[in-house]
Amino acid sequence: MSGLSRLLIVVGCILAAAPLVLHLMSSVKSTSELNLSPPTLFPHEVTLSNYQALFTKRPFLRYCINSLTVSTLSSLICVAVASLAAYRLARGRGRWRSAIRLSLLVVAFFPPIVYVFPDYEIIQALGLVNHLWGLILPYSALNIPFAIWLLTGSFQQIPLDLEEAAEIDGLTRFQMFRMIVLPLVTPALITAGILVFIFAWNEFMFALTFITIESQKTVTQGVATLSGAFAEEIPYGLIAAGVIASAVPLIIVVIVFQRWIIAGLTAGAVKQ
């Protein structure tokens, strides 16, 4: 049993890592080596020319800055806005509260295709097409239901006595929220923030639709269109370098924040 388990785990890990390792090796091969058929496994000589091309012939650094800006702001706005509403939901009562929670759950499950066109109309009306705020607004809003759902549970676990004591000390409701309640739910805020960041970083359909100029593109869109710009030959080295360069920040995020990511993903199941 234990032998079979080990075998499964090893095979699973190899399958998970192999495509990335293959791309890592391809990304440091020369163009002439990449054009060999059948392809070589290990590079004959290591070159960084593909990465150089990625950052000089294509505005890859710009894509990264755009993605970083969009994801950071979306994550901050979403968590800030959601924490206010989640706190109110956690402390309120009555029938409307479950109605709000249910409707948030329902819209969270709607496929994004439902929103893309009417949101495009709104973003266009606001003059935000080809503007990073045209992505930040929808990303913040679309992740609010998830963030509220995650945070409400954490707020409910804070004992009320604490807030009653603070009230006696003469703090206003908002001061109490900011100075006493929020610090207590920091882990949940970090979890929600990281997951919204990853969701925003990975989003493709809205980016594809709302951004059409190179200088405003995000990483996902940039990598997906790397092959399009060179009609005469498919730039495999460039694509491999793009895949690796866009994967590295996320791999770091996974390694550093693994505990928080797991906590967020499993929150719904554990609470049932």
């Binding site: 699973g12 791309h23 059948p38 819209v107 893309v116 493709f204």
Partner: protein, 295 residues
Amino acid sequence: MKTHRLEAGSFLWFLPAALLLSGIVFYPILRTILLSFAHRSLATGFRTEFAGIDNFARIVTDSRFHASLWTTLVFTIVSVLAEFVIGLALAISVTSIRGGRNAVRAILLVPWTLPTAVTAVLWAWVLNDQYGALNAFLLHSGVTQTPIGWLATPASAMIAIIATDVWKTAPFVFVILLAGLQNIPRDLYDAIEIDGGGAWAKFRYVTWPHLMPFSFVALMFRAVQAFAIFDLVWVMTGGGPGGATETVSIYTYRTYMRYLDFGYGAALAVTTVAILSAAAGGLYTALVSKYERTF
């Protein structure tokens, strides 16, 4: 316990969320429902004209929509089942070994964290007929004599997008189920052992019932996401070859953005949500009733 009451004006706590949600989520839902009963396209000069149920009548006879719905269903059912079986097998395996759990979990989480569009680029290249690693391996090991055009035939393109989705999201199922397994008290297994039960009895009477809520969340999340699949298909096959991998999201997107038929696009979106809700409701009822029967 006394419930803390909020002072008057407490709706202000909801105001920022309500503003963002009404602009980006609730108004668009309303707008889509209204548009689905209208003609608004290139043909009407982008004027909105009342259409009654024209758009929905068209959906009933639209064979391209039926094909895309079938493709979406096959994709959803096959990939979610495969993800569940693989995720469960890995979660049970990782629980049964000592040590290295965090390292394994970190490696397996990487595919899930990558953007789907990047995953699609990555796999399209692994599956490339001339330069791809898979064909190189198959040719070298003598499994095939001629390179296989994985994304060139309808059946193999479908297998390719399903395999890519499984690669990316089996880790998600794994993480959820692993959390579930770690929640099970060890002494329950000891009790089965004392009663003389084997591995199957442990799985059937302890593991499986405890995993039910976790399985439910994993399956529900995955099924809804798989049904909405867009980026993976868009980047890998564009819905081809010959529309063989066109999902409802891809078809709806094309109707909106390429054919500029906004009324019909809205009707497709409404129909998709209706079918998804019915399916999710059915799945919920089936799983919850099964869950309750277990006890």
